[in-house]
């Protein structure tokens, strides 16, 4: 029992990181932009989020405020993600370059920038960049009161997580409401399905593509920051972050572009990713565990294409640029 509970809590911790990456990418892909640069965006989010919190603590000294540090870390990561996606949007939407190539280039660019910022901080600060232990505690603190956490089983499964998990769920629910219930969500879906139809209906394609991609990039970047500030213990750790962005891209497919699916999907993927640490079966190398999420994604793809459901399909114009005069 305790093994399962620890597995679930650990899965949620890693799943939170994935959830941000996935939610951001869902928003982006809903506009028809396939941004493969999530990996790079999450690196940048991690590095800039850490930098934001670190330099804030350095400046504030003893007067440092925990909540403010969290807000600064989120804002810094979000801004970094927005900047990276703005580059992507400019190249693909305005200049109409190939989305796959641009996304891959952004991946490489973003991991490079993330590494650079992480290393720069290390070198300029003389060896070791970490927040003070107090502040570290703030980032990985449980938000719910102790009596809730102490409820057997349910307590640790539902209430023992950091603020970032509950924030991610809020983002997922809000995104669901936005897409399903509001006019602008409907317009965004329309843009991703058929830009030419939306254009004829008088919807500003460029605006929707830019906004969805830039805000989506910002949300994805928070995921990188959450990894560095929780799992990695507020230290720049590029190894743990590598591959997370790609997993988020796969998870978007797994979730069938639905934000609510991202909640359980990312926890499930999180569980598969950390299973090798908790449930070790002899003679099976850890790499096998690590490819599990991708295998599951492939199976989901096969199943959905076999069921041939018209509702569970990627946005119809995903990956295609729109150019009005081309007919």
């Amino acid at each position: 029992m305790t093994t399962i509970i620890t597995l679930i809590t650990a899965a949620v911790t890693f799943g939170t990181v994935l959830m941000y990456g996935t939610l951001g990418e869902i928003l982006t892909e809903k506009s028809g932009n396939l941004n493969l640069g999530v990996e790079g965006i999450m690196y940048m989010g991690g590095a800039f989020g850490l930098a934001g919190a670190f330099y804030y603590e350095k400046a504030a000294g003893a007067a440092v405020s925990g909540p403010l540090a969290i807000i600064i870390a989120i804002a810094a990561a979000f801004a970094a993600g927005m900047a990276a996606s703005a580059i992507y949007s400019f190249i693909t939407v305005t200049l109409r370059a190939n989305q796959n190539v641009t996304g891959l280039a952004l991946s490489i660019f973003g991991t490079g920038i993330g590494q650079f910022v992480g290393e720069f901080m290390r070198v300029s600060e003389g060896g070791y960049v970490a927040l003070s232990n107090d502040l570290k505690g703030v980032f990985s603190a449980q938000v719910f009161p102790k009596f809730l956490v102490d409820i057997p089983v349910i307590g640790s499964i539902l209430f023992s997580h950091t603020i970032f998990f509950y924030l991610a769920i809020a983002v997922a629910v809000l995104m669901y409401l936005f897409l399903a219930k509001t006019r602008y969500g409907m317009y965004l879906t329309a843009v991703g399905e058929s830009p030419s139809t939306s254009d004829a209906a008088g919807i500003n394609i460029t605006k929707y593509k830019y906004l969805a991609t830039v805000i989506g990039g910002g949300i994805s970047a928070i995921g990188g920051m959450v990894y560095i500030m929780t799992t990695a213990g507020c230290v720049w750790n590029h190894e743990g972050l590598s591959g997370v962005g790609w997993l988020a891209v796969a998870l978007v497919i797994f979730c069938m572009w639905r934000p609510l699916n991202a909640i359980w999907g990312s926890v499930l993927f999180g569980a598969m990713m950390i299973m090798y640490l908790r449930v070790s079966i002899p003679f099976i190398p850890t790499e096998i565990y690590k490819i599990l999420p991708y295998i599951v994604t492939v199976i989901v793809l096969i199943l959905t294409s076999m069921r041939n459901s018209r509702d569970r399909q990627p946005p119809a114009s995903l990956g295609l640029n729109y150019f009005r005069e081309e007919r």
């Binding site: 329309a190 058929s194 509702d311």
Partner: protein, 511 residues
């Protein structure tokens, strides 16, 4: 002045050019309320272009548009809606995963989003004009005619009182067409101005009040439907024959080269694209293929080259010694390996014919890459060939390695035709070989084809310009709805006769 009162839209001196091509040449036209106007013309006569200027997709280069006597400028589809003009395009603009109601309100910012009220309003429009539609149904579950209905409702919902329908019956079954006509008559009774773009004469006669005819971008005239007949309309549509002075020598002794018998092809949706087509093509002869676009021309050529699956029938190539080779069921590569010399100049030059990002040499090599030695390419011969075509056909290009995509349409066609001819084919097939080319290049192509013919090649020329077909070809095969409407001697046939064969057959088929 009763006429003035009825007039919803007046277009004066509308001219639209695309590069050198004049799509609309100072057209004057009126659209009246409570009337169905049929806009009639051959393919490429500028019908859709003219109406696109009304719906805000294009802006006229010259001329003025008046609505109710007031001059208006329509810069976008949205502005067109503002003026009460709605166009239903041939390709529906609908979001497949949305419901009918969602599609209808898409882009209407100023209205509160309330799908229940939308549904009510949609139902009201439906009952008023006799539509049958379920607003909460998803578009992907709908038939083509239901999708069209959504498009019409979309336009009406936005308050349009001037409706333009671009070939609305092209995809409908006869029953659905009747339903549509009933709705159109209801809308007419409601005082709306309706324009239908079409080239189907019997529909024009059936539903319209007035017919406006365009020919090659020029406005020919408007007549009352009740005072005209199909023959008179065909004459207006195709016009009097224009002399082009294309040289047409006779080849001494034509022999059978290609025999097509009962060829039937069915597309993915089960539609018969070709229906028991039979004909013979002879050496030293240009066989023109005429027909309204989409009558099976493309499928015919592709079936002969082995690209389109054949359901039934036979295509036989007659060798010089009189023996015959069956081509049905062979891949293009097998056909070439059996020693059947066929060349194909497809309609889609840069898609099917050439690789746009490669130079002339590279494109020449597409025909000869298998001649290389081991893994290495032999570039010498293609280079010589490219240089030869460059000089002989006056291709305007900086070098033979310059990407052909960046050449003008005429030069692209010269490269393609040059390459196809270089293989000394015995059968040469061309689809719309002069589409989009200027006069001089067109004549270059005509001369090349005639030259081939005099060498004893059997030439198949699919064309849309009847004047050219009559002067260039020796015989003309007329296709209509995938069937052979007739095969006539080009030297004695008149343009009107061909025009009638192209359109009348359709009428029979639909009844």
């Amino acid at each position: 002045m009763l006429l003035e009162h009825n007039c919803a839209i007046e277009m004066r001196g509308i001219t639209k050019r695309f590069g050198q091509v004049v799509a609309n040449d100072s057209i004057d036209m009126r659209i009246n309320r409570g009337e169905i106007l049929a806009l009639l013309g051959e393919n490429g006569s500028g019908k859709t272009t003219l109406m696109n200027m009304l719906s805000g997709i294009y802006q006229p280069d010259e001329g003025e548009i008046y609505k109710d006597g007031e001059r208006i400028f329509i810069r976008s589809p949205r502005e067109a809606y503002g003026y009460g003009i709605g166009m239903i395009h041939q390709h529906y603009k609908l979001i497949e995963v949305f419901t009918a109601a969602q599609n209808i309100v898409l882009g209407l910012d100023d209205e509160k989003m309330d799908l229940r009220r939308t549904n009510e309003k949609v139902m009201e429009i439906c009952s008023r004009y006799g539509f049958e539609v379920d607003p909460s149904r998803k578009v992907y579950d709908m038939s083509v005619s239901q999708k069209q209905t959504i498009e019409i409702i979309k336009v009406l919902y936005r308050g349009a009182d001037i409706l333009v329908l671009d070939e609305p019956t092209a995809v409908l079954t006869p029953q659905e067409t009747q339903k549509l006509f009933k709705v159109l008559l209801n809308m007419k009774a409601d005082g709306k101005a309706i324009v239908i773009i079409t080239h189907k004469l019997h529909e024009v006669m059936e539903v319209s009040d007035k017919v406006a005819v365009l020919r090659k971008g020029k406005y020919i005239g408007t007549v009352n439907t009740s005072e005209t007949d199909p023959q008179a309309l065909t004459d207006m549509m195709v016009g009097h024959a224009v002399t082009l002075n294309i040289e047409r020598p006779r080849y001494p002794e034509p022999k059978r080269k290609l025999v097509v018998e009962n060829l039937t092809c069915v597309d993915n949706e089960g539609v018969r694209k070709l229906d028991r087509v039979s004909f013979e093509a002879n050496t030293g002869e240009i066989l023109g293929v005429a027909g309204i676009s989409g009558s099976g021309q493309k499928e015919l050529l592709e079936a002969i080259t082995g690209l389109y699956p054949v359901k039934e029938g036979s295509i036989r190539f007659v060798r010089d010694d009189g023996s015959e080779a069956e081509l049905v069921g062979m891949t293009p590569r097998r056909i070439r390996e059996t020693g059947v010399g066929m060349a194909f100049v497809p309609e889609d030059r840069l898609g099917m014919g050439l690789v746009g990002s490669m130079g002339m040499t590279g494109n020449m090599m597409l025909r000869s890459w298998r001649n290389g030695r081991g893994a290495f390419l032999r570039k010498k011969e293609p280079e010589d060939l490219a240089n030869g075509i460059w000089k002989e056909l006056d291709v305007v290009t900086p070098s033979i390695t310059y990407p052909v995509r960046r050449l003008s349409g005429g030069n692209v066609q010269k490269v393609l035709v040059g390459r196809e001819i270089a293989g000394n084919p015995q059968v040469l097939m061309t689809a719309y070989a002069v589409r989009g080319l200027d006069i001089n290049t067109s004549y270059t192509i005509y001369n090349l084809l005639t030259e081939q013919k005099m060498k004893g090649v059997a030439v198949l020329y699919v064309g849309e310009d009847l004047d050219v077909l009559i002067e260039l070809a020796d015989r003309i095969l007329v296709l209509c709805g995938g069937q052979v409407a007739g095969c006539v001697d080009a030297r004695s046939v008149t343009k009107e006769e061909i025009g009638l064969m192209m359109t009348q057959f359709n009428a029979k088929g639909a009844e």
